[in-house]
């Protein structure tokens, strides 16, 4: 057994890298370990726990955030590389108490159950809808192909995104 119960405060510690990141519109500066990955930085250093972690190999989509508008997996993105970038997380999606149309549509379509994959799906979908073209159903499914949901069977998620896309298009739900 090894136990050291004294409060050990890192005096020397590993070398750190300074980063300044715009997170949901707020500029934050921190010193991080070079090996820190973005999702840990968001969750642990900034306390933004809305972004979740699951596969840690960028194939489940759970940790998806937007870096300079593009969706990426925060689990394999070094925090150091976010220096100078704008990061948007699920916490930055709603406008105060007012839900983003995607969030509203997810409620209306029962597009979440446990809610663990949901932030990733929301950020992925936001990126798609922010694009130049209004996606059709096929484009939505293809765009979401890297996000796993173990609860819903996907159909309600696809419908929820489709609904917002149709609104953008001024379609039947518009």
């Amino acid at each position: 057994m090894t136990e050291s119960v004294s409060e050990s405060v890192a005096t020397s510690g590993p070398p750190r890298v300074p980063v300044t990141v715009g997170v949901n519109g707020v500029s934050v500066s921190r010193q991080v370990e070079p090996r820190s990955v973005l999702v840990d930085f968001l969750r642990e250093d900034l306390g933004l726990t809305g972004t979740k972690v699951s596969c840690e190999l960028q194939v489940c989509g759970v940790c998806t955030v937007l870096v300079d508008g593009r969706p990426v997996s925060a689990c394999t993105f070094l925090t150091a590389d976010a220096d100078g970038a704008d990061v948007t997380t699920v916490e930055g999606l709603s406008d105060g108490q007012t839900l983003h149309p995607l969030q509203e549509s997810f409620v209306d379509h029962f597009a979440l159950q446990c809610g663990f994959c949901t932030p990733g799906f929301l950020m992925m979908s936001k990126a798609l809808l922010d694009g130049d073209e209004v996606p059709d159903r096929e484009a939505i499914v293809e765009h979401l192909e890297g996000n796993i949901c173990r609860c819903t069977g996907y159909e309600p998620i696809v419908e929820a995104v489709e609904h917002v896309a149709e609104k953008l298009r001024g379609g039947p739900h518009g």
């Binding site: 890192a10 969750r43 979740k52 190999l57 809610g115 949901c149």
Partner: protein, 796 residues
């Protein structure tokens, strides 16, 4: 304001929090906690010779390293065998940290506590464990042959052997005009919730109490187990299931090794300690399910009626049996589905292997049972040249035979008696939904275009709502808010909405006003847990009972205040009023909130509600005490529901698939579901359960398998290689309902949590067999597997 509640597809109350990143899952809690990580066995079977931590001790940020030697008191004992059974003659459980021997890759050996997870893993890397290798037993064939043993003292690797029968199956088979034999094989899969396990513990030395957050399906049981292990009084331990990112069965097991040693370390260190399972750990450190070999002998007459059915199952229980033999019991009893063979015999051997332990995964043995039965039905139909639905229909239990006693003992130790169901009607609906009778025309059309298509069907009956009990507590606050709690946990099923609907309906309040807490032992201490599609049945009825009691009390108190007979009162939109009187008519109505104030006679008017209550202080009978004898202050009550036996939901699935003649790729063109889970509290939530279950069924049929090599290494322990379907792989699910209310409980509910997944492998095997013209007997099936089967057929 929504007043409609029970049966309405109202939006989920849980959603806004979860959609805005405000959910609190295990790893979102305890920001300042120390992080635990584990050194786990890289070998499937070995003796631990030495553990050398000397290279690790100077890592900055290390707080503690523990091995089995350090575990004092009951913490060092083997973990509990949760569900003993007379047939489980050789049950074995692991230690929280391995003692002397490891029996599967992933078994925890050393716990490291450090300032953060990065450092904890640095420490793990530097700990050197020396092993003496032992030859591993991998796969059911190896376990059955028993040339090598997993546990030295378990002969034949058999943990349990159980035979159940009804009628004389040998005579039935001997006398049957036709007999067929089938050998079937289902591979391992796993629950694989997107959130792994995790536990956070905080010891309050001043209060001598422990608070544990854990990602569990059974917080009250974790509490009891921890109190026993850590030798703490039960009332000094509180366990809370926070938001849980999916369970699907794996989180019903408790206490996990980590659930014991993390709180233990928190107490020792006087610091918050948290462990968050990572994905690799989950694959090798949690549990799997499904793996079985099956042999079926079936005797039938010229019409396809089953005369005798004899099934033997070899069930892979992995390295240990913490959850007993629930899975093979469920397989061999639920296998019967909606059918009534004249004689039935089921035998199973539960076998140890040097692989991850097996415990229930959504469906809990039913998918395997359904596979055996439905492959048998298809085989009988093919043999007799009959339509597959005709053979099934001829073997159905008829509605007028309900309740139907199979003469067997179910997983809850009670008789296997179906309560209700209309199987012929379900089949008719399904045939219509999928267009069963029009399929041959579609097949001909497809064939003309060079395409290969097939249709399949599978039926199941699911014992749901097993006991022993659940409870519910309902209270009306003085501001009119209704708070309710039940002890079982939630993992995304929308319980807080469904239960709020139940309470709102019983009480006559808007559903938005009802706040439900689940899985928090501080709020409700008596509970069993969330499994076996039981939450709606058990806690739904318990909360309904509690709400009814509160309603009765509210009417009584309101009657006194309004000087009216309670029988003339009703509660509408949170206001008690004389039946039929207009809202807020003076003297004939009183808000429930005010009734709540009156229900708690206080000395002090500390707020406006308390002040307001004084206006209802009518004539006082000074001969009576303010709180009547036998009564209690407050507008709250508790109710319990304990069923005599399980309810039985049922359903039937049909699928149309296309198989590529060249690449052997398998595409699901349509997937249709008809199901009957009794009365629906919220149809959209039920539908979500069905759809999600189907997605897991499709995964289990076409994509997901646990691939072990001969050395017992799990070769696909990541989401890159364990292939859960994406949106691109899951078909649109077409559904239709039947509602046959259960006569066993007041709400008539049956439960729906597992339904969708059960027939997945059976229905897709049926459809692929139909497309290919030969019987599929092993699932899951990949394009590569199908290609191999085609080659084998050609060379016949």
């Amino acid at each position: 304001m929504t007043t409609a509640a029970f049966g309405e597809p109202i939006a989920r109350l849980e959603d806004p929090r979860l959609l805005t990143g405000q959910g609190r899952f295990l790893d979102d809690i305890g920001h300042q906690a120390l992080a635990a990580a584990f050194v786990r066995s890289p070998h499937a079977h070995a003796r631990i010779v030495d553990i050398d931590v000397s290279a690790a001790v100077d890592v900055e940020g290390l707080v503690a390293v523990y091995t089995h030697e350090d575990l004092d008191g009951r913490v060092g004992e083997p973990l509990p065998l949760l569900i003993p059974h007379a047939a489980l003659t050789h049950g074995r459980t692991a230690y929280a940290l391995a003692k002397d021997e490891v029996n599967h890759v992933g078994e925890p050996i050393v716990m490291v506590v450090a300032t953060d997870r990065y450092v904890a893993e640095d420490v793990c890397d530097r700990i050197v464990v020396t092993y003496d290798f032992l030859p591993p037993v991998v796969g059911i064939e190896a376990a059955r042959s028993a040339e090598l043993l997993v546990h030295d003292d378990v002969p034949g690797n058999v943990s349990a052997h159980l035979v159940q029968s009804r009628g004389d199956v040998e005579a039935a088979l001997a006398g049957a005009p036709h007999v067929l034999e089938l050998d079937l094989d289902i591979e391992r899969s796993a629950s694989t919730p997107l959130e792994g396990k995790g536990v956070h513990a905080r010891w309050d030395a001043d209060d001598a109490s422990l608070r544990v957050y854990t990602s569990t399906q059974a917080s009250t049981s974790v509490r009891a187990a921890l109190a026993a292990r850590l030798e703490l009084p039960l009332d000094r331990v509180e366990v809370i299931a926070p938001d849980v990112g999916g369970g699907f069965g794996v989180k019903i097991v408790h206490p996990w090794p980590e659930e014991v040693v993390v709180p233990w370390a928190a107490i020792r260190l006087g610091r918050e300690v948290k462990w968050t399972e990572d994905r690799r750990e989950h694959f090798v450190g949690a549990t799997h399910e499904r793996g079985q070999l099956q042999h079926v002998e079936v005797g039938f007459d010229d019409d396809g009626r089953l005369l005798g059915l004899d099934v033997t199952v070899w069930h892979d229980n992995g390295a240990y049996t913490p959850y007993g033999i629930i899975v093979p019991i469920v397989t061999t009893t639920q296998l019967l589905g909606p059918y009534k063979p004249e004689a039935y015999r089921a035998e199973f051997f539960s076998l140890y292997t040097n692989t991850v332990t097996v415990t229930p995964y959504r469906g809990a043995g039913r998918p395997q049972g359904c596979f055996a039965m439905e492959r048998t039905m298809d085989a009988v139909a093919a043999y007799l040249g009959l339509d597959r639905t005709v053979v099934r229909e001829r073997n159905f239990i008829r509605p007028d035979e309900m309740p139907y006693d199979h003469g067997l003992i179910f997983q809850d130790g009670r008789p296997l008696i179906y309560d209700s169901g209309d199987y012929p009607a379900t089949l008719e609906k399904l045939k219509k939904l999928v267009g069963w009778d029009e399929f041959e025309a579609f097949r001909a059309e497809a064939r003309a275009a060079g395409r290969r298509v097939g249709i399949g069907i599978a039926c199941y009956v699911e014992g749901t709502g097993v006991g022993p009990y659940e409870g519910g507590w309902v209270k009306v606050e003085t501001d009119g808010t209704v708070v309710a709690a039940t002890g079982l946990t939630t993992q995304g099923q929308g319980h807080k909405t469904a239960f709020a609907q139940v309470v709102a309906s019983e009480l006559g309040v808007p559903v938005e006003r009802v706040q439900v807490t689940t899985g928090d032992t501080r709020r409700f201490g008596y509970a069993v847990g969330t499994f076996a599609s039981r939450a709606a049945v058990m806690s739904g009825n318990a909360l309904a009972s509690a709400a009814r009691k509160v309603r009765d009390k509210a009417l009584r108190i309101a009657g006194e205040a309004l000087e009216a007979d309670p029988r003339d009162l009703e509660i509408v939109d949170g206001v008690v009023r004389v039946v039929g009187s207009p809202p807020s008519a003076p003297g004939s109505s009183i808000p429930l909130a005010t009734v709540a104030v009156l229900a708690n006679p206080l000395r002090y008017a500390f707020d406006r509600e308390a002040e307001r209550a004084t206006q209802f202080g009518g004539p006082v009978d000074y001969s009576k005490p303010p709180v009547a004898e036998g009564d209690s202050p407050g507008l709250e009550d508790t109710g319990y529901y304990s069923p005599p036996r399980s309810t039985f939901a049922n359903g039937m699935h049909a699928a149309i698939v296309e198989t590529d003649p060249d690449t052997a790729e398998i595409t699901i063109l349509r997937y249709c579901v008809v199901h009957d889970c009794g009365r629906l509290i919220n149809p959209r939530i039920v539908e979500g359960q069905i759809h999600g279950g189907v997605a897991q069924g499709v995964g289990g049929a076409l994509y997901e398998r646990m691939v072990y090599d001969d050395a017992g290494q799990l070769l696909n322990a990541s989401f890159m290689d364990f292939l859960m379907p994406y949106a691109t792989e899951v078909p649109v699910v077409e559904t239709d309902h039947l509602e046959t209310p259960s006569p066993l409980n007041p709400l008539g509910i049956k439960g729906a949590g597992e339904a969708g997944v059960i027939p997945g492998s059976a229905v897709l095997a049926s459809a692929i067999s139909d497309a290919e013209g030969f019987a599929i007997t092993r699932m899951p099936i990949s394009p590569s597997d199908l290609f191999s089967l085609r080659l084998a057929q050609e060379s016949r």
